[in-house]
């Protein structure tokens, strides 16, 4: 489904150049749920924007279903962290979800149906004609997710979508995303800095190094599905995975003391 081959991204030129991403490669299979974690400032957002076609990489390529991504492809939808800034405050939830559909070749009835289905899928039927700012943070993020769903993407990119939401709402939203993946069969690439979340949600976890970023490790997550906020998190396997990821990241965050040597090849678990 998605292939990222030796992606690199450098900002600026000459002396002022910042190498955000040095070499990142991984692949996503159809309907997979993959989380990307890493220390702060490791270019997770940059990576996502390159994959989405919003930024042009300096090197390497992104292939979606075999085709190179140079601009936002129609099968791909993106959900940002700052939900309130990505929604239009001057119109209703319905029209917000409708926006990306307007330029798709659909009949008015089909559009309407898609919008209502998507809003139903995130549980916001009652608020379909409200303004987004009348809703809570968690609900606004649901609107953003509904908007992505209505677009009928095959792959969903999510950039720390629940970071600005309180912990209890986060649990609900995590389950919502899992539900959506199951119901609609979407592939999901999920960036987060929350380690628990990454273990809870994913089929595989990609751990990144700090800038200039490379892939440090790719860990399969063998936890049983369907996941549950209480039962899954009680499993010893969960704690092990969690600790493992934590250690990997912690080592990345350690000061550069001995780390100017070239990195070891990405450990494959």
């Amino acid at each position: 489904m998605l292939e990222i081959n030796h992606l690199s991204k450098t900002y600026g030129t000459g002396a002022m150049a910042t190498e955000a991403i040095r070499d990142v490669s991984f692949a996503l299979g159809d309907k997979e749920f993959v989380c990307v974690v890493g220390p702060s400032g490791c270019g997770k957002t940059t990576l996502l924007k390159c994959v989405a076609g919003l930024l042009r990489p300096s090197g390497g390529e992104v292939l979606l279903r075999g085709r190179s991504v140079t601009s936002p492809p129609p099968e791909l939808a993106l959900v940002f962290q700052e939900y309130s800034r990505s929604l239009m405050p001057w119109t209703s939830v319905r029209n917000n979800v409708l926006l990306p559909l307007r330029h798709k070749k659909l009949s008015r009835r089909d559009r309407r149906a898609l919008v209502e289905e998507a809003i139903g899928a995130v549980g916001l039927d009652r608020f379909i004609d409200h303004y987004p700012w009348q809703l809570s943070g968690g609900m606004q993020q649901r609107v953003a997710i509904a908007r992505a769903l209505a677009y009928q993407p095959s792959i969903l990119l999510m950039d720390e979508p629940f970071a600005s939401v309180d912990a209890q709402t986060r649990g609900d939203l995590e389950d919502l995303v899992l539900q959506v993946r199951d119901d609609f069969g979407i592939t999901i690439l999920f960036v987060t800095h929350d380690i628990d979340e990454s273990v809870y949600l994913s089929d595989r976890i990609i751990v990144l190094t700090h800038a200039p970023t490379e892939v440090k490790a790719i860990l399969p997550v063998g936890l049983p599905r369907p996941r549950d906020q209480i039962e899954t998190k009680e499993l010893p396997e969960f704690s092990h995975l969690r600790a493992h990821v934590y250690r990997l990241i912690k080592r990345e965050q350690e000061p550069e003391a001995a780390v100017e040597a070239p990195r070891p090849a990405a450990a494959k678990a």
Partner: protein, 301 residues
């Protein structure tokens, strides 16, 4: 912020690329930082381009003016050629009379602005600090404020006559209101935490006013000064044009009456430059006075 002026005629900055936030608006300079975008060309070329484009634009428009006039697209009588106009302007600049006129207009502007400031700032402070006074005088202010000062011209003509006094009165009256309202807003918008802190440290009211309130209100007052400066210049010129008090406006009236179109255009160009000069002077003053204010700092990368 509650009070008689909320929700209604709040003054906004005229919006001319002002870096000051009007009350109720987010400071325009404080923008969410954009993600760094990939740039195809290195930064040096961009900067040179930025300088070149405005110059090219000016040059092109001057050429266009010359062409339109010389080819009689618009009759040269109605629109003297660019070269002719500037030649005329140059000739004028050699005369003593021209500079006297410039001086008169600038004098009108300066006195009008100064007087307006002397009146508007203290009154604005009083109305800004006393909620009672603000409410009591809300109606008269709201009614007098939108009156175009120009309507006073016939009255002044008949009462004070075509003297400097008329010009100053007009300029002052017009420049007074924006400054008053901005000062009021500036004083009222002072962070109550700051004044409370002062009070808790035993700073006396007058000193609080001088050390806390006024500096906080300064950006608003600076915006008000900029607006008032524009208004004052316009009204000084208007008085000269309509009433015949000495200055560039009167010279223009003269040129028009005698059909001296070239002189008319030359004077218009000159007036535009006077306006620019005044604008830059006030902007520079504002920058100097407010160099410490966040809105004056470039966005941190």
């Amino acid at each position: 912020m509650s009070g008689p002026y909320t929700g209604s005629d709040e003054p906004r900055t005229i919006g001319y690329t002002s870096r000051m936030a009007a009350p109720g608006q987010a400071a325009p300079g404080v923008r969410p930082l954009p993600a760094p975008a990939a740039r195809a060309s290195p930064q040096r070329t961009t900067r040179l381009g930025e300088l070149l484009l405005p110059l090219v634009s000016i040059a092109l428009s001057l050429v266009l003016w010359e062409v339109v006039s010389r080819t009689e697209l618009v009759s040269q009588n109605d629109l003297p050629a660019m070269s002719t106009t500037f030649q005329e302007l140059w000739a004028l600049m050699q005369t003593e009379e021209f500079w006297k006129n410039v001086g008169y207009t600038v004098r009108g502007w300066a006195l009008g602005l100064a007087l307006a400031t002397l009146l508007a700032v203290p009154i604005g402070i009083v109305l800004g600090t006393s909620d009672f006074a603000a409410r009591a005088f809300r109606v008269p202010i709201e009614f007098l404020r939108p009156i175009p000062s120009a309507v006073l011209i016939p009255l002044l003509f008949l009462t004070l006559g075509t003297t400097l006094r008329s010009e100053i009165f007009l300029a002052t009256f017009g420049a007074f209101w924006p400054l008053l309202v901005q000062t009021m807003y500036g004083v009222r918008d002072v962070d109550p935490l700051a004044t409370e802190t002062g009070r808790s440290f035993g700073v006396r009211p007058l000193e609080r006013l001088w050390r806390i309130t006024l500096p906080s209100a300064l950006p608003y007052i600076a915006t008000g000064l900029r607006i008032s400066s524009t208004v004052s210049l316009i009204l000084a010129f208007t008085a000269e044009l309509f009433m015949g008090t000495p200055g560039l406006g009167q010279a223009m009236n003269f040129a028009q009456s005698y059909g001296l179109n070239e002189q008319l255009y030359a004077l218009a160009v000159a007036t535009g430059f006077v306006g620019l000069a005044v604008h830059f002077a006030m902007t520079a003053l504002e920058r100097r006075a407010l160099h410490w204010h966040p809105s004056q700092r470039a966005a941190t990368p």
